[in-house]
Amino acid sequence: MRLRPYLRALQVQTQSTLRYRGNVLAFLSYVLIPPLAVFFLWRAVLGGGRTLGGYDLSAMVTYYIVAQFFVANAPLSAWSEISEEIRDGRLSLWLVRPVDHFLLYLSRNLGAWIPYWIMGLLGAAAVAGILHSHFRLPAEAWRGPVALGFWLVGVVLAFAWGYTLNLLAFWTERTAGIVGAADAAAVFLAGGFVPLDILPLREVWLFLPFRFVGWFPAQVFLGRVSPERLPGELGLLLGWLFLFVAGAKLIWRLGLRNYQGAGL
């Protein structure tokens, strides 16, 4: 398989995103504000050395900064352009090209996100600076890169999920509601609102794969996952990823049978 077209698509999309620097800058608020707001809540709950589910105030603040960065920067709804092109027939233009649609859009999506990731990292660093007396760096240096590695595989998983949902446009007129609902659910299941292990019914949330998009990498960062568990968790993540990509490919094939290219 030739990678060049995909790398080029990634590069072009990064350049395209950088044309709208105001958008990228505005994204800062998404990474900055929620952890700052939730800090006041947790200070009231965990102040004075109290703990909840094994989290003290520092661990909770660190969790929100790290998890917010991971979840906010994951393409859980992929790209609405995918469903729009199916609906208005522009998909035909992609079908005649000798590239894999999934990989092409994954490359474009990653390319579009790279500037946001850099800005998000700056935003997370700024929040960590503001709340420096509560932010906790990992005790072992390897935890940061390993957390990032898990998250990057989680990003591909998130994209496969969003991509599949957008493909439902082969059968329904408008997918915005479906994608929006699934996006909200995935943000919750990724641990973007609350650490999943302090929730009621935690076994349910921790069984699902979305935890790899935010909650699990944050746990690795916090030092709450032992090194012995990591290979097993990686195997599980790759298994889920295989299932998601296979599901996306299946829906794509079924959808193409239904596609009429109308609207051009």
Partner: protein, 259 residues
């Protein structure tokens, strides 16, 4: 009367439009359900281990979740048309609104009502009812005062958005600033008691996010009365004056140029 008739006509047209996409509306409902459930679960997780947060009981916190959800859905339903102003200024087609025989800000606010959001209103109401069921000595005669406070909160929120979109007369592209407003609404999710000092002052005056969700609940549970309503009226007057000033100054600057 013409304003009422025009508003009613806009609503009925929008209902017809939305009915084309029933499945999408259903999923919109599910999306709202997830957001409300996430808020409820956050407080359930905390109150499973503590008795109060900054003096707020479990029932009061749940009522806060419900009230904020209701407020946000009402804004999404009724006032989303305000988001059209920056586009109209950029494209130079604001005249389409200015030439109609109804107040332009009102027309802008109501011309694009998103009735799908109305489907989600019972979710907030459900969370509110759950919260209230946990408060033993609730004084139901306070309900009209709660509704009044909620109405004032909606008006304040609408005016905050209006002030924001009015800046498009100067900045042109302000769409990204909408995200800032929604992200700032995070501060409205938590009980007022968790904010102290200068932060609390800021969030109840210049950036009155705590006023929006907390004050209606505080009125309902008897943590305050007409004093809180008076505070809301003060904030509302401030934003109304600011919005009016920005609108007048913006219109003087508007040139009708663009696409």
């Amino acid at each position: 009367m013409s304003v009422v008739r025009a508003t009613w006509r806009l609503v009925s047209l929008r209902v017809k439009w939305e009915l084309f996409f029933r499945l999408d509306a259903l999923f919109g409902f599910l999306g709202g359900l997830v957001e409300v459930v996430a808020g409820v679960l956050l407080f359930e997780a905390i109150y499973g281990r503590v008795r109060s947060i900054a003096g707020w009981s479990r029932g009061e916190a749940m009522a806060l979740v419900g009230t904020l959800a209701i407020l946000l859905e009402l804004e999404r339903t009724l006032l989303r048309g305000l988001h059209h102003l920056p586009g109209a200024v950029e494209e130079g087609d604001l005249e389409l609104f200015l030439t109609r025989p109804v107040p332009t800000p009102l027309l802008l606010a109501f011309h694009r009502m998103n009735l799908r959001a109305l489907w989600r209103l019972p979710l907030g109401a459900g969370a509110l009812a759950y919260g209230l069921s946990l408060i033993p000595a609730l004084q139901w005669p306070r309900l009209p005062l709660y509704l009044l406070s909620l109405g004032l909160s909606l008006a304040i929120y609408g005016l905050m958005v209006f002030c924001l979109v009015c800046t498009s007369f100067w900045i042109v592209r302000v769409n990204n600033l909408f995200w800032l407003v929604y992200d700032l609404a995070e501060f409205a999710r938590y009980p007022a008691g968790v904010y102290r000092g200068a932060v609390r002052f800021l969030l109840t005056t210049l950036l009155p996010l705590v006023v929006l969700s907390n004050f209606p609940v505080m009125v309902l549970v008897g943590r305050g009365g007409w004093g809180l309503i008076g505070h809301q009226l003060g904030v509302l007057s401030g934003f109304a004056a600011l919005g009016w000033g920005l609108w007048r100054a913006g219109l003087r600057r508007y040139q009708g140029a663009g696409g």
